[in-house]
Symmetry: C3
Subunit: 437 residues, 3 copies
Amino acid sequence: MKKLSMLMLVGVAAYMLVGLAPAVMAEEETASISIELFTVNNTWMLVATFLVFIMHLGFATLESGLTRSKNTVNILFKNIAIISIGLLTYALCGFNLMYPGEFNGYFGFAGFGIATDAAGITSAYNEGYTYWTDFLFQAMFAATAATIVSGAVAERIKLHSFLIFATLYVGLVYPIAGSWKWGGGFLDQKGFYDFAGSTLVHSVGGWAALIGAIMLGPRMGKYVNGAIKPIMGHNMPLATIGVFLLWLGWFGFNGGSVLSADAGAVSFVLVTTCLAAAAGVIGAMLTSWGIQKKPDLSMALNGALAGLVGITAGADVVSISGSVIIGLVAGFLVVISVIGLDKIKIDDPVGAISVHLTCGVWGTLAVGIFSPEHTVATQALGVICYGIFCLAAATTLFGLLKFMIGIRVSEEEEVLGLDISEHGQEAYSGFQIWTTQ
Amino acid sequence: MKKLSMLMLVGVAAYMLVGLAPAVMAEEETASISIELFTVNNTWMLVATFLVFIMHLGFATLESGLTRSKNTVNILFKNIAIISIGLLTYALCGFNLMYPGEFNGYFGFAGFGIATDAAGITSAYNEGYTYWTDFLFQAMFAATAATIVSGAVAERIKLHSFLIFATLYVGLVYPIAGSWKWGGGFLDQKGFYDFAGSTLVHSVGGWAALIGAIMLGPRMGKYVNGAIKPIMGHNMPLATIGVFLLWLGWFGFNGGSVLSADAGAVSFVLVTTCLAAAAGVIGAMLTSWGIQKKPDLSMALNGALAGLVGITAGADVVSISGSVIIGLVAGFLVVISVIGLDKIKIDDPVGAISVHLTCGVWGTLAVGIFSPEHTVATQALGVICYGIFCLAAATTLFGLLKFMIGIRVSEEEEVLGLDISEHGQEAYSGFQIWTTQ
Amino acid sequence: MKKLSMLMLVGVAAYMLVGLAPAVMAEEETASISIELFTVNNTWMLVATFLVFIMHLGFATLESGLTRSKNTVNILFKNIAIISIGLLTYALCGFNLMYPGEFNGYFGFAGFGIATDAAGITSAYNEGYTYWTDFLFQAMFAATAATIVSGAVAERIKLHSFLIFATLYVGLVYPIAGSWKWGGGFLDQKGFYDFAGSTLVHSVGGWAALIGAIMLGPRMGKYVNGAIKPIMGHNMPLATIGVFLLWLGWFGFNGGSVLSADAGAVSFVLVTTCLAAAAGVIGAMLTSWGIQKKPDLSMALNGALAGLVGITAGADVVSISGSVIIGLVAGFLVVISVIGLDKIKIDDPVGAISVHLTCGVWGTLAVGIFSPEHTVATQALGVICYGIFCLAAATTLFGLLKFMIGIRVSEEEEVLGLDISEHGQEAYSGFQIWTTQ
């Protein structure tokens, strides 16, 4: 804890210093569009920002709903911490790592802090929105990547290890990886396409989730004598609230990625997004109903997310029927992936790897299939480049943390639950809960 | 289950085919307004769409909060399924049934699927929004009608029977009925007025809710030896979240029904909407406080919804004081209706019939009272036409389902709860819950 | 109860009368801006209104989550009642007390009711939005002030006493106090600055919360033989939902206070708002982690709110680094204040006094520190004027209520819980809950 506090204080202090002497100045170019259009574009981007913000509540509720009540405080704490750390680190360095301006295509940095001068406030950053809107929208995205990891490592990771990991992953790994495509880097120049982040956000989070789940090992009691013992989530209404909020948030995630309020583009993207989500539910529902002979709520919920992750890479370039097929296949894949990971004993309490990595890869490749302007080969190149970098980065970070301070709580703490052992606080004070939970 | 899967697959397959050869092309007319105004109108309609979307979470939480914990997974499953089925069927046929263009005023169909061509994306569909926005906003509305039914038949209906009913009601009944007014059909030509759907949405759902509740019969233990035994909802915070989200969603439901961002019209509608909701709370609170001698939370919550349903038909044409009176009366009516239905042993677990049908009829007639341009007679004509059609349609659908596959679960399943019997899953794993619940 | 009903009916009746003959007419001035800009400004202000509305759900869930399950129905009831009473009383008199037009700077009143004439609907009220939008945005703010009090007096106040207090505080005290600055009154002329209400909303609610908590005394069992016995909240996911929704709502609270959709101003305000919230979390987390040696979720959550309240007075006039420092200090102060109030035995179940009063004062003074155009002295003058007035008003109101009908429930009722004793209804029917809760 001491170490963590130190690390944070150093970060905060660094921020203070550079914040006072902002390194980046918004360019004072005149907007080539009317003030009216600029204002509506900016307003739309802010609304999209709010929607992406609320995804963090969606992740918090989904993740806590699908896990046990004895680890709920811990999960909620992680989620309020991640959005806060994410916003501050993105202001400190992430934004300028991800959008460095002219650079070599692999790594660039425009300096610490964000601008506070009058130019940054009043002048037009681009045709769509102000410099501040740009920062805030991107910052909300950035924090998402770490939140994805949170679900896969839930119920057994040490809190401070996770917070250090999240800080570095959001502050350094995500923006550097992001610069390769959205910052105009080498993958952008190679024609790789990822509209709103099936790969840049979801698989970047998903790869780290995979490594985290493997390095931590499964929760106690999950795989016993070769049998898979399901550990049920403790609050399905909470999980359902999470999925609806994430779906809502995706209107901003994908709709905002148009980067303007362009009526045709935004509304088209939202139709493909919605139909893919709906098809994802149907796909997962039918698949799990067929396999398990029961209509499974968790699978239906994850089906919606699967469809949403799947459509994210190509929401603007596929056809209506393409979006439905992408969603259906994503719904099928998420169920197969959840079952498959369990078979090879990779324990992912909320299905984050299946939703964000499996369907993130599918969605990225699907652009090559359903959009005539892109090829599967180029898309696969992007998937592979991000996979290698994220696997290396996540393995290094988790490995160092494991070596230095450990990443898994003790058996006693895991049995007791992280709420009591890490926080000394119960999530449902007064309720009678079976001790095994 | 097999039958259901088949039915769905056929639907999905049909969609795939027609989706690939879209039948409807957006007209390539030039917008007569500035690109700026078109963009802000479209942005507003999208925001309204998001708000109507979140109503589905509102319904899911309200309905599960007001019922027993042993049926919670079932209710959540129905709600995530309905929005998904609703969106897909509306894309397949609903949209083109409801807005068929020129037709005989009673039934018209513009073909399967929705357009995906460049014209649909870029050209101006009308002065308010694009073709895609139009579809998405209307699709969110459509799914609402089936969700209303869900509450009244909760805790005892067979899942697959309900899903088939919902699919047909959203895909066929709702859009055909809708075409009579909003599609320019015979009731529109007769001067019937329903701004945002007190009748077209709420009573259409409400009539089916009534038929469903009657044909299923009351839940076991609700009416014993002539006495009414209240069955309490299991989670009042969840129900309260539901009502606040529905109120929020109504800003889009009514505000979006202006069909543009017109500042005066939208803001006026939102003021009448809000004051009616507030007055509904006060009306229901005072009525139930007077009758039951206790301030009843469920009644106060339903009062808000009553006021909202009541103002929906005339939000744009009544005065401020008119909106307050409409809300107060709606709040009074919902309490009386809930008590009255219980007296004649129609068991509606969440009060859906009282909120959506009773107050939907009241709100529609109130337009004739509080708006000088409309008459109670014309409004009553509309109420009656929709009543006859919906009663016939709902009776036919539920009757066929009852005859063919049954609509009510067995006594054992009802006692056990639908979560375990239909889904094999508990909503609150680990919590100790009294067995009678 | 009878008295309450009478009081409300009188209010409603009064409203009916004046509503029918609206006293205020919106001025028919021609807008000096384009219809496009006016429309986007108005749309933005409506979105901000929705966001402030959803803060009421945030308060409801935060407050019920941080208290015991036996008082949950009572808290939810208060919250749905307050927003309803708040909207109606603000329409009846609040709006015209707060914005009286030309007045003596201390007290003015523009008459009962709000306008319903065509001018009010169609003409431009000002460059930012219509008369209706103005009313609705301000009405949502007004109701907030009473909700703040609700948390501090929870679990022991008589329902009808609280409702009468809230009605008078929202309908009279808040708008008169508000007129001094936002209505163009004497503090506005003295140069006092409060952008979005650190003082005008949060400390106005906070002072009443302080007086309420003192006059009621602590909950039974909180302070026993000189020891502080923590009474844990019963539902931490609910509390977390509350904080995220409040953060979301603050985008409208602060962003809407720009009073137009001006791209630079709104986006700048949202960046300072978000960074202050994030810094508040970090500040509270480090402070409580340092003092209590455990990462405390309640403190982290209150840290977000502390940062948000802190930045509210100066969100538009401080620098980026200033906003981070304001948030960090607010996060530190909220923890110290919670601990300090407990030491002097002022029992505030949810920390409302610490969040809204302590950080409201801090945020107001911070404008004098971090904005070169304002002085600490002028800011302190405003803090003192509001403090004296609100302390006097709250003491008078609570004193009269205590004298006339009592403000605290009986010991038996408090032990039993307000849900059963006041409402005859449980929040979690069926769940087994320890009797001490």
